[in-house]
Amino acid sequence: MRAWLHHHLLSAALAWRRLAAAPINSLLSLLAIGIALALPAGGQMILAGARQLAAGTATTPQITVFMHIASDQAASGEIRARLEKHGGVRQARFLAREETLARMKAGPGLREVIEALAANPFPDAFVVTVRDETPDAMERMAVELRKWPGVEHVQLDSAWVRRLDSLLRLGRTVLLLLAALLGGGLVAITFSIIRMQVLTQRAEIEVSRLLGATEAFIRRPFLYHGFLLGLGGGAIAWMLVAGAATWLRAPMAELASLYDLTLALAPLGAADSALLLVCAAGLGWLGALFSLRQSLGQA
């Protein structure tokens, strides 16, 4: 067992020496791997920011029913009664026009404009949540509500949130595809590097076999080489993403604040960082394994 562990240490040290023996080549290989991995890792960081943005907004689909500006309390009362009886309505919250005016006055930026107006410009409104939240059912409900007496306008409030949610889901799928594609690239790069290493170390492999080395003994340093390439590339990708997060944090936050949103771009968290490094090292190891399967028979 001690001998086995000792050989693992020797193999890792040998792999490190082989990397260090050609520093420029190794650095360029690590950079290629790092840049390839930085794209999905950076995408994950942006996606996490966008998720945070979406989480700050209500995601339950809502319909807002605006009464005619001239409609009286009786008309609003009738609509309230209809909504309460409607089987498709889960909840209907009444927003009196006075309440809306007070809220808008309290909000930033609009106070002076609203105070300059002669009369309350806001109508009575109802915020409706429905039982069937599918887009078609929501649309049917909106069409029905538009026909009710005294109703001026019906708005599907959550449409943009739903669009954002769809975009996030699409982004996640694209990111997974990109990660798979570039992960394949990492495997290909490691495959090629290890193949060259096997060709370079052909004499040593032959001698080792003749002296009684097992295939596992021969493969071990090359597997460590692939592992270290992947791990190093993953570390470079992490640094690139962390650097980008630092550089972009202030301008992104400023842009978001212009839309009254909060967006704090953060570097990858501990779990995402660990996942990046483990996947990178694992893919490097896998590339080495594929390469050894093909090239050791020829060595």
Binding site: R2, W4, E206, R209, L210, L211
Partner: protein
């Protein structure tokens, strides 16, 4: 120690390197295998080293039939042998010390014991003060002695040497032969394929001619 029982080895496309060869070599014995180029000397050594398998017949080493040895067991069998290759097969990017250390690393020897053995083996062949030298910095004779040190560092019971004195001048060839004979005197069974049989006086000889023993 070694028994060949009607061993034949045929290489594609039908070249017979060995043809019905039978002989025995006892524990601690020394056998010189001679013959012209292509007589089958190297093939005989490759069969004993487990590098090649016999086409027919049985090769037994230490009572073990190598033909029945699974491929996965071959590395462990090879660790019990010491082999001096015709072309030495030294690693030219590693020091003399690291070259001799390689078989012990492969066998999983504890580091301290391995280091002591490597130094003892290098001392034995007269390279104790050249352990840091790369093989390219050594003379032909020194390289051959380094190959012997690597072959004996694992203290094998059986030492195989394929033309160990080839390409050496008379003085170096005699030196290498003397070292091999010394190992045989301390009980190591020695099987040597060589043209220079006069360097091993008193040794048993086996002369091959087109894969057969010449009487």
């Amino acid at each position: 120690m070694i028994r060949f029982d009607r061993v034949s080895k045929r290489y594609p496309p039908g070249v017979d390197a060995l043809d019905g060869l039978s002989f025995e070599l006892d524990d601690g014995g020394m056998l010189l295998v001679g013959g012209h180029s292509g007589a089958g000397k190297s093939t005989l050594l490759k069969l004993v080293a487990g590098v090649e398998r016999a086409t027919s017949g049985a090769v037994l080493v230490g009572g073990q039939n190598l033909g029945g040895l699974p491929r996965s067991a071959l590395p462990y069998y090879r660790r019990r042998l010491g082999v001096v290759f015709q072309d030495q097969k030294l690693l030219f990017d590693r020091s003399a010390y690291d070259n001799v250390m390689l078989p012990l690393t492969i066998s999983g020897f504890p580091v301290r014991e391995a280091a002591a053995r490597v130094r003892a083996a290098l001392d034995k062949v007269g390279l104790g003060k050249r352990e840091k030298a790369l093989p390219i910095m050594l003379s032909g004779g020194e390289q051959q002695r380094l190959a012997i040190a690597r072959a004996v560092v694992g203290r094998p019971d059986l030492l195989l040497a394929d033309e160990p004195t080839a390409h050496l001048d008379a003085e170096n060839a005699a030196d290498v032969a003397r070292i091999l004979v010394e190992f045989n005197r301390v009980g190591v069974t020695l099987l040597v394929a060589t043209y220079a049989q006069e360097l091993f006086p008193g040794a048993r000889r086996l002369l091959l001619d087109h894969g057969r023993i010449r009487p």
